[in-house]
């Protein structure tokens, strides 16, 4: 089964795994603490939020679209969740319904973007950019002028870091999302349909795949996952903030690209994008541990991104290749 899962992703991700391993070796050399159990747990903890997002983002990118709305959806859902979970501000406790409502907010925002994209034929870039602001606006309005809401439920606030079998709960959640993402991608008609759309939308349409519904649904799932990430991030922080998702977009999209998921659609997969997330999180963590001047962090990040994509693309150069 696992073998089957892996084989369906375009080409083996061996190169990527090697890159991750190489990076780990270099960083362990620079600071022996890098390879400590605590740090590996730390890396898993830090990758869990972007991992959840990257699954949704990959579904969307595989069909050739893009989802920029991550930050807004996370802000809206995170705020919605914390305000109806035991907190210092409202004192409301909706229990499970808090999750349902927050995830619902994310799915609704995803649907909103999807409908604008598919029904109004506004490019996904713009539809999701607009949704980013709309979500952020909802988060800001929920935040209002009141107190900073913090979780009062100790168990809930500790849950993300608590270890189960030596692995933080956050990562168990993210891992489950990745597995579900892999199953959707490889074992459902929906997932295969997204690949078909990414490969050639016109054919997908004419061969009767309900392209519109698939697209809207992919964006809705991405919205739901961003919402889940927003909840997890809020839980990790212990307090609500409408900016909870800031900078996530610029981790997740490069991660997908480094993983070899083509922005034009049809190529790549959840597993590869996840490896891309690991690569970037390890890079960030390693730079801190190695004591690189923070001013240079963005630059090193940019350089690695360029090197990674150029290395992948270099052998495929050809006089007539079109790369956009």
């Amino acid at each position: 089964m696992v073998n089957h899962l892996l084989s369906r992703e375009s080409k083996g991700p061996t190169g990527l795994i090697l890159a991750v391993v190489a990076l780990m070796v270099v960083f362990s050399f620079l600071n022996p603490r890098f390879a400590s159990v605590e740090n590996l747990q730390n890396v898993l903890f830090q990758s869990s939020v972007p991992l959840i997002i990257v699954v949704g983002a990959t579904l969307v990118i595989l069909m050739g679209s893009i989802d920029l709305s991550v930050q807004g959806v996370m802000g809206a859902a995170g705020m919605a969740w914390i305000l109806i979970t035991p907190n210092t501000r409202t004192g409301l406790d909706y229990g499970v319904w808090a999750w349902v409502i927050a995830l619902g907010t994310g799915v609704a925002l995803g649907l909103f973007a999807g409908l604008i994209y598919e029904r109004l034929k506004v490019p996904s870039f713009v539809a999701t950019l607009g949704t980013w602001y709309v979500g952020l606006g909802i988060g800001i309005m929920l935040y209002g002028n009141g107190l900073l809401p913090s979780l009062t439920n100790e168990a809930l606030a500790r849950w993300p870091t608590r270890l189960t079998l030596g692995i933080p709960n956050s990562f168990w959640l993210a891992g489950a999302v990745v597995v579900v993402g892999l199953v959707i991608m490889n074992y459902t008609r929906f997932g295969r349909g997204l690949l078909a759309i990414g490969n050639n939308e016109a054919i997908a349409r004419s061969s009767g795949i309900s392209v519109s519904r698939y697209k809207i649904m992919a964006l809705a799932i991405a919205g739901g996952l961003s919402a889940l990430a927003g909840i997890l991030a809020t839980m990790q922080l212990g307090s609500g903030s409408s900016d909870i998702g800031s900078t996530q977009l610029f981790t997740v999209i490069p991660a997908a690209v480094i993983g070899g998921t083509a922005l034009s659609g049809g190529e790549g997969g959840v597993l590869r994008s996840s490896l891309g997330v690991f690569l970037l999180v390890i890079l960030n963590n390693g730079l801190v541990l190695a004591g690189v001047d923070p001013d240079y962090q963005q630059g090193v990040f940019g350089l690695i991104l360029i090197l990674a994509i150029v290395t992948v693309a270099w052998p495929h150069r050809n006089r007539l290749k079109v790369a956009k």
Binding site: P123, L129, I140, M141, D295, I304, W314
Partner: protein
């Protein structure tokens, strides 16, 4: 790039193409709408706000809108040129940041030569972007995201994480902003002039024809002996130049520059202005003159939101809805085309 309207595909199913009868008139109507929509959107927005508060139609209102449009306009023009060849330049706002910092650093010592030197540097950054994109053939979205990171570091390092305030020779550049012509600052008019030059470049030169051909069908352009590599490099150089000009406009306005100051948030407004100006994100379609109206519209949105009295908390929400609505009104829709 993403968001591509895929009019060309090696394997689109069809039964042979014949012009759909009635397509001719439709083609003209669509073309006319494309030419006019950005102007109409801006004018109608101006009118609505003007009815609510006539002060916005007075000289001060005009000078405010045009002043805040100027930096967006330069970045948007550069972006539109890159979008036109079917690529994207996520680094061009960061180029303008670096440009602004360099202007602030060099102007006091070098005077006008400093400005020339800064533009040379931003063009060089653009050329480097173009070479990387064209030679390595990687998606420009990812590549320029990488150069964006490098430029952010460059901005922090060159400015030593300081706000650099120009004390000497400030008048050399401040005049660009403080001088106004028909109520708009000179920086805006320079932007309009640059738009006209870019328009001329696109519609009246072989270079421009090549750019548009690359944007619409790069393979066919290559096989038609269009020099794709130099054209891409030139296009990114233009984006770099536009970024540099935006940097000048920023410094002219602010008299100072810093890595996270004015201009650090120009990327998304720049893209939005290009799109609202009718530029297709899939390439092959832009009109720099309409991008002027795109920039005006995008600069006007926050002003309009404020003018219409939406609460501070609602601004993001309204801004998001507005961008979607405007692009929905101006976006090019080809029947049956794939929108990405």
């Amino acid at each position: 790039m993403m968001n591509k309207i895929q009019t060309i595909s090696s394997s689109q199913p069809s039964f042979g193409g014949v012009i759909p009868p009635g397509g001719l008139t439709r083609h003209r109507v669509v073309a006319a709408w494309h030419a006019l929509a950005p102007v109409l959107v801006f004018v109608s927005m101006l009118l609505i706000v003007g009815i609510l508060n006539p002060n916005y139609l007075k000289p001060l209102g005009i000078s405010i809108v045009t002043a805040s449009a100027a930096p967006i306009l330069f970045v948007a023009l550069g972006q539109a040129m890159v979008l036109n060849i079917g690529s994207i330049d996520l680094s061009n706002a960061a180029i303008s940041m670096v440009g602004a910092i360099l202007v602030a650093l060099w102007l006091p010592g070098m005077g006008v030569m400093g400005i020339v030197a800064v533009l040379a540097v931003t063009v060089a950054i653009g050329i480097l972007n173009g070479l990387l994109v064209a030679v390595t053939q990687v998606p420009s979205f990812a590549l320029t995201l990488g150069t964006l990171g490098l430029l952010q570091t460059a901005a922090l390092v060159t400015s030593d994480s300081q706000t650099i305030y120009i004390s000497e020779n400030r008048e050399l550049i401040a005049a660009l902003y403080s001088t106004s012509l028909l109520f708009a600052p000179l920086t805006f008019w320079i932007g309009v002039f640059v738009a006209l030059v870019y328009w001329g470049l696109l519609s009246l030169t072989r270079l421009g024809l090549g750019m548009t051909a690359i944007g619409k069908n790069e393979r066919a352009a290559t096989l038609s002996a269009v020099p794709t590599l130099p054209i891409k490099v030139i296009t990114y150089a233009i984006s770099g130049l536009s970024g540099g000009l935006a940097g000048l406009a920023i410094v002219a306005q602010a008299g100072s520059a810093s890595a996270s100051g004015l201009g650090s948030n120009l990327l998304l407004p720049g893209i939005a202005a290009a799109l609202v100006g009718g530029t297709s994100i899939s390439g092959g379609q832009t009109n720099p003159i309409n991008v002027v109206f795109g920039a005006l519209t995008v600069a006007f949105v926050p002003i309009a939101i404020q003018a219409m009295g939406f609460g501070a908390e609602a601004q993001s929400l309204v801004y998001g809805l507005f961008i979607i609505t405007v692009v929905a009104l101006t976006t090019s829709r080809v029947r049956g085309a794939v929108i990405k």
